[in-house]
């Protein structure tokens, strides 16, 4: 519900209260009573409160408020990046320290295990090199084989089509909502 300022209700209520106080003061036994708050001042307060309006913000307030929202968003994003960075550094340091401790423990237990691990690691490190070599061979042989070229073309077409469908699906709910509203 959009915001609506003070309505008839409060003013009507103030009018009724004033009428009521007016009546009560006209009755002699009631007006003679010593009350902490006189009917007159209560009625005056009602009139005062019913007459007030909302205060307008200074010019360009909304622009300044949005600038502050943007500033706060940027600060929060920067803080998040710092937090993730710190977490990664701590994780990497922990892993390095853990690995070092493990290697030291293994070396003291059985030096052969360490040698075996070193061999496995060097073989793992050689995998990307082998993959790159394979890619280079395929790229060199592709122009010579029309079937392979066709297969590559089909793969690219499928990839682009898939991305296009995904983009359309992501945009659809908003579009539908706008159409429904229209």
């Amino acid at each position: 519900m959009p915001y609506i300022g003070p309505s008839e209700t409060v003013q009507e209520s103030a009018r009724r209260t004033r009428r009521l106080y007016g009546r009560s003061t006209s009755v002699r036994p009631v007006s003679a009573e010593s009350l902490g708050v006189t009917a007159e001042s209560a009625a005056e307060l009602d009139t005062l409160l019913a007459s007030v309006t909302l205060v307008d913000p200074p010019p360009s307030f909304a622009i300044r408020a949005m600038a502050r929202v943007e500033q706060s968003r940027r600060r929060m994003r920067a803080l998040r990046i710092i937090r993730i960075g710190l977490a990664l550094v701590v994780l990497a340091a922990g892993l390095a320290a853990g690995t070092g401790m493990l290697v030291t423990a293994l070396r003291s237990a059985d030096p052969q295990i360490v040698n075996g691990l070193a061999r496995i690691l060097s073989q793992l490190a050689a995998i990307p090199g082998a993959v790159l070599l394979a890619i280079r061979v395929i790229v060199r042989t592709l122009p010579g084989h029309p079937t392979a070229l066709l297969a590559a073309w089909a793969a690219v077409a499928i990839l682009v089509g898939g991305l296009w469908i995904k983009a359309l699906a992501a945009a659809q709910p908003d579009g539908l909502r706008i159409r429904q509203r229209a």
Binding site: M1, P2, Y3, I4, G5, P6, S7, T9, V10, G36, V37, T38, E40, S41, A42, E44, L45, L48, L49, A50, S51, V52, T53, L54, V55, D56, P57, P58, P59, F61, A62, R64, A65, M66, R68, V69, E70, S72, R73, M76, R177, R181
Partner: protein, 210 residues
């Protein structure tokens, strides 16, 4: 004035991080939020700072907004809690009108922040009366008379019960009416300087007569 559908759409988009949609909400609610802050804190510069902070908090916590509630109640609730916290921390100071130059009294001079119909005497009277009240009582009066909220809505906004709202409202009205009555009595009494002046005039008149 934005329609209910527009507002719902802005809220939905703002919840997904759309800043443009949130800007529409700021535009629509700047007056009630600023007004509440101004009445609670009592001066324009604190009110502007507080109102901006309220919008920052609203944007940051948009995902926690429950769409079954009125957005106005939700944002006024943030504003109310923030202003009370600020007053308790001592950031919001009640500035006496006597301490301010007349042209600094209103934010940015033109256009006047208050309705043209409201004269400065009445404004001063309201500010003084509100300043007499404890924060929670002041808040209830502001929400009831400036924002026209029902007892139930005030209870929701202030996180309290309806009976507590009624009780606070009654006490606040009583305190304000007493202050008004005291003002009237003080106004009815002749001022000390006036008495001295009247005495001097009487003496002069007597001297001339002799």
């Amino acid at each position: 004035m934005a329609s209910v559908d527009d507002e719902r759409l802005w809220v939905l988009r703002a919840q997904q991080g759309d800043q443009e949609a949130f800007a529409n909400l700021v535009e629509a609610y700047q007056r009630p939020v600023y007004s509440l802050a101004y009445r609670m804190l009592g001066n324009p510069s604190d009110a502007e700072d507080a109102a901006q902070e309220v919008f920052v908090r609203a944007f940051t916590h948009m995902e926690s907004y429950d769409a079954t509630r009125k957005f106005s109640s939700w944002i006024l609730s943030i504003a109310s809690h923030y202003c009370i916290d600020r007053l308790r921390r001592g950031h919001g100071r009640q500035v006496s009108l006597d301490d301010m130059e007349p042209d600094r009294w209103l934010p940015d001079t033109a256009p006047a922040p208050e309705s043209e119909a409201m004269d400065r005497d009445r404004e001063e009277q309201i500010r003084r009366l509100l300043a007499l009240l404890p924060e929670q009582h002041r808040l209830v009066i502001i929400l009831r008379y400036w924002h026209d909220l029902s007892y139930e809505e005030i209870a929701q906004v202030t996180s309290t019960t309806e009976s507590a709202v009624k009780s606070r409202l009654h006490r606040a009205r009583e305190a304000m009416a007493e202050a008004l009555a005291a003002d009237r009595e003080a106004a009815a009494l002749p001022r000390a300087e006036d008495q001295v002046l009247a005495e001097r005039n009487r003496s002069h008149a007597l001297y001339r007569a002799i």
